[in-house]
Symmetry: C2
Subunit: 149 residues, 2 copies
């Protein structure tokens, strides 16, 4: 696991980590304001996004994935259900748990949201040249891997 590890003792690498961190924080702040539906909080959107990837999950799994405490996820899920964006079903094997899955309506809303945020990001990206964009495109999957560690 330790082979091929980047050597972070170099000054260049420290600078890169620094610039990565600040860029990520700033970008996220800007993206956060690009909500498609004002009545849905960022975390709620994020939960829907996770469900869109996973298909379905229990509240506990969702809480862990979103880095939120279980009680908070209970509330979020209840709110999403009241808006008709998720469905709650009993867990087939463990009656303590529940299974949360998205509805059609959530899928529509997610698509719209992605379009809007992507449009925003894309409008920023238009200020880059081909070379810069290529670097970004190459790094996207790595960033995603990083985010899921």
């Amino acid at each position: 696991m330790l082979k091929n590890m980047p050597d972070l003792s170099h000054g260049d690498d420290v600078a890169a980590v620094n610039s990565l961190r600040s860029a990520v924080m700033r970008l996220s702040r800007r993206l956060k304001h690009q909500r498609v539906d004002e009545s849905l909080s960022p975390t709620e959107m994020s939960v829907l996004g996770t469900l869109s990837l996973c298909g379905s999950a229990t509240p506990g799994e969702l809480a862990r994935k979103e880095h939120v405490q279980p009680p908070s996820m209970t509330r979020i899920v209840a709110l999403l259900e009241s808006k008709g964006l998720v469905r709650l079903e009993p867990h087939p094997e463990d009656r303590r748990q529940k299974v949360v899955s998205r509805t059609e309506r959530a899928e529509v809303m997610l698509e719209e949201s992605r379009r809007k945020r992507n449009a925003f990001l894309a409008s920023l990206v238009e200020n880059l040249d081909e070379d810069e964009w290529a670097k970004l495109r190459a790094a996207a999957p790595v960033l995603e891997k990083l985010a899921h560690l």
Copy 2:
């Protein structure tokens, strides 16, 4: 300005924008938890960071930069002042306004905070191989440019 512009109509590019967006959001959520001082909110830290770049600014300017309403910035600035992290002085030309600037103590705390967050990011980065890290390092300045657009 439009020469060399990336063509975002390609499917690959749309996917890249998508993955960039979600990765940035997730990473930021994790970085947000790496606070050096629990008594300072992310926005408060961000204000200090902005002041570190700008030198000084009025509350109104800060509110616009942080995408926060003026009354919120009033409260934030007051809190930061009570902790000795910013200084408030009357505006030289307009007595309605005030000028906010950071103190030495803020600079020290910012440095510590950067160290901590960098350490967290670096610990994630250790799970990448050389190639992935190289891609990320190449993209870092581009991301930063993007965030400042």
